[in-house]
């Protein structure tokens, strides 16, 4: 009976530890962790010479971005966490030979114009997030900052509401339809548990 309770205690401890969220001292440490594909927050794929990558941005990364280096109260941190936790944030990067799509894909002025239009206004129709049972999570918004050829990739952030549908799925599919690059539809599979156990940052509080 004594052995049984010991095993039970160890098992509970193990389960508790494995369910814990990872906590990082700084934003840089968190980004290092997120950038490792083994950790399940960063995905990379190459199709027909085009490189696609997707990174899930945990809530604390957004909170830290808003706070900067300021020391603040726990109440403020909590309210910011609540504010940003209502949404899921994904960074999608697309490139060819380490260049932005607009610098490599369009062959003439017309194609360039069409692609600018597509990237700036039409990505909502091309990028989709849906559950394993194909329930679509509607896009809340996306941001495409123009870098005018100065970036290594075309990067945009997609924001989705933390929908109830997410709780009933094992994984989420993030798909990018063909943007005229002959890549076909590119899909990333995100483990739902990873989103729920998203890592946090130790934020400066008074």
């Amino acid at each position: 009976m004594k052995i049984d309770s010991k095993i039970w205690f160890l098992l509970c401890g193990f389960i508790l530890l494995s369910c814990q969220q990872k906590k990082f001292e700084s934003k840089e440490e968190l980004i290092d962790y997120l950038s490792n594909p083994e950790n399940g927050y960063f995905f990379k794929k190459s199709v027909n010479g085009y490189d696609f990558s997707l990174m899930y941005r945990p809530t604390d990364l957004l909170v830290e971005q808003e706070l900067g280096n300021k020391t603040t109260t726990q109440v403020t941190v909590d309210s910011l966490r609540e504010k940003y936790n209502k949404y899921l944030y994904f960074n999608l990067s697309m490139s060819r030979n380490n260049q932005e799509l607009l610098s490599t894909a369009p062959k003439n002025r017309n194609e360039f114009g069409a692609m600018v239009n597509q990237l700036a206004f039409g990505m909502g129709n091309k990028v989709h997030l849906f559950t394993a049972s194909k329930d679509t999570i509607p896009l809340a918004d996306y941001i495409y900052p123009r870098l005018y050829g100065m970036g290594n990739a075309t990067t945009m952030m997609f924001v989705y509401p933390r929908d109830k549908k997410i709780t009933n799925t094992d994984f989420l599919n993030f798909t990018v339809e063909d943007l005229g690059l002959y890549t076909g539809e590119v899909k990333f599979k995100i483990d739902r548990k990873k989103i729920y156990k998203q890592p946090t940052i130790k934020l400066n509080t008074k």
Binding site: S133, K134, D178
Partner: protein, 156 residues
Amino acid sequence: MNYNNKSFAYVDLNVLIEKYDRTAVVREELKGKTEKLNSNVDSLMSDWKKEIQSYEKERSSMSKKEIELKQELLGNKQQQINNYQQAIQKQIQEEDQKATQTVVNDINDYVKEYGKKKDYSVILGATGNGNVMFADDAINLTDKVLEGLNKEFNGE
């Protein structure tokens, strides 16, 4: 290197592409697009033919100058229809290429995930062009992969 059966397997890509449920879906979508595009060409062609017929009827009553102008007009129209037809053929080819790539991407992703999950070292893709000349049926994963692939696509 000593590989056991577990670490080394193959899939028949032709079978996967043919029997993957999404292939039928994308083919159907492509068929719809192709029919729509071709019907545009057909209606342009029929208009052009009607114009030719009416020109031939009225030709006897036309002056030399009018005939020359009408012929030039009809010739230009024919050229425009030809250009449109070529552009449409190109567009259909491009759509076909994109659809095929989508199916191939899905298969690649699933085989990769399957291999990792089941701890395979290598999964070869046989295409019937001699890249896998002989393989024991015991290491043929085509059916298992196809089953999982279709389940995932159908959201089961």
